[in-house]
């Protein structure tokens, strides 16, 4: 998947799973403050990301995710086999 395709996939997950308005989702959107997710939603998201990457999301990495772009970077890194790319 290209980065754009990953972004579309992540956006689709956010819309479907959390009933968000696609117009509200931007790469820089903060999951908590801007999209109003909570920690239980985050668990749902990590399960969905497992479906995308085929790998269980490391909790230490999950804790560092703040924005939609962070998710895209994580998925991109996992799919490329490069591991974690989320800045701490």
């Amino acid at each position: 998947m290209t980065r754009a395709e990953i972004y579309q996939r992540i956006t689709g997950i956010l819309v479907k799973t959390f009933e968000l308005d696609p117009a509200d989702i931007r790469p820089e959107s903060r999951l908590y403050e801007d999209l109003d997710l909570d920690s239980i939603d985050a668990v749902d998201m990590f399960v969905e990301l497992h479906e995308v990457t085929g790998r269980r999301i490391d909790p230490q990495v999950a804790r560092k995710i703040r924005t939609v772009q962070d998710i895209v970077a994580l998925v991109e890194a996992e799919l490329s086999g490069a591991g974690v790319a989320v800045d701490s």
């Binding site: 909570d38 985050a42 668990v43 560092k64 703040r66």
Partner: protein, 134 residues
């Protein structure tokens, strides 16, 4: 209020419990219990796994059912005498929160399924929060 009878199998990420519905069991009315009780059976099955895995620290762990997704009920009720098997498969966890895919079967037929999210080990609502301090 313990609803399950036995923990019959578990690994660190999977668990199976059983229960036979008794006439004097909680929620039984006129010989049947609403299938919605599956949610509590799922929660207790996951709790049984957690308790077993932490059996060296009895009393030091507690948990909460936080929510469910994709609850499917194939029947409205279970009946007294029904032998039910409940399974849980861990989908993801960190030190505070976890999600399990749970199913309930009777004689091999799936009667209920759901994904449940749980807090364990005295979790606060911060565990998997993106951006939360480590």
């Amino acid at each position: 209020m313990l609803l399950i009878d036995e923990l019959v199998h578990c690994t660190p990420h999977d668990v199976t419990c059983t229960v036979t519905v008794r006439a004097d069991a909680p929620f039984v009315v006129d010989g049947r219990v609403p299938a919605l009780v599956s949610l509590e059976l799922f929660a207790q099955t996951v709790a049984a796994l957690h308790a077993y895995l932490h059996r060296d620290h009895p009393g030091g762990q507690h948990g909460k059912l936080l929510g469910t997704r994709e609850l499917e009920l194939a029947v409205d009720h279970f009946h007294v005498g029904d032998a039910l098997t409940i399974t849980g498969h861990e989908l993801w966890h960190d030190e505070h929160l976890a999600q399990f895919r749970c199913e309930l079967h009777r004689n091999g037929e799936r009667l209920a399924a759901a994904a449940i999210s749980v807090a364990h080990g005295g979790a606060q609502d911060q565990g998997a929060r993106p951006g939360a301090p480590p």
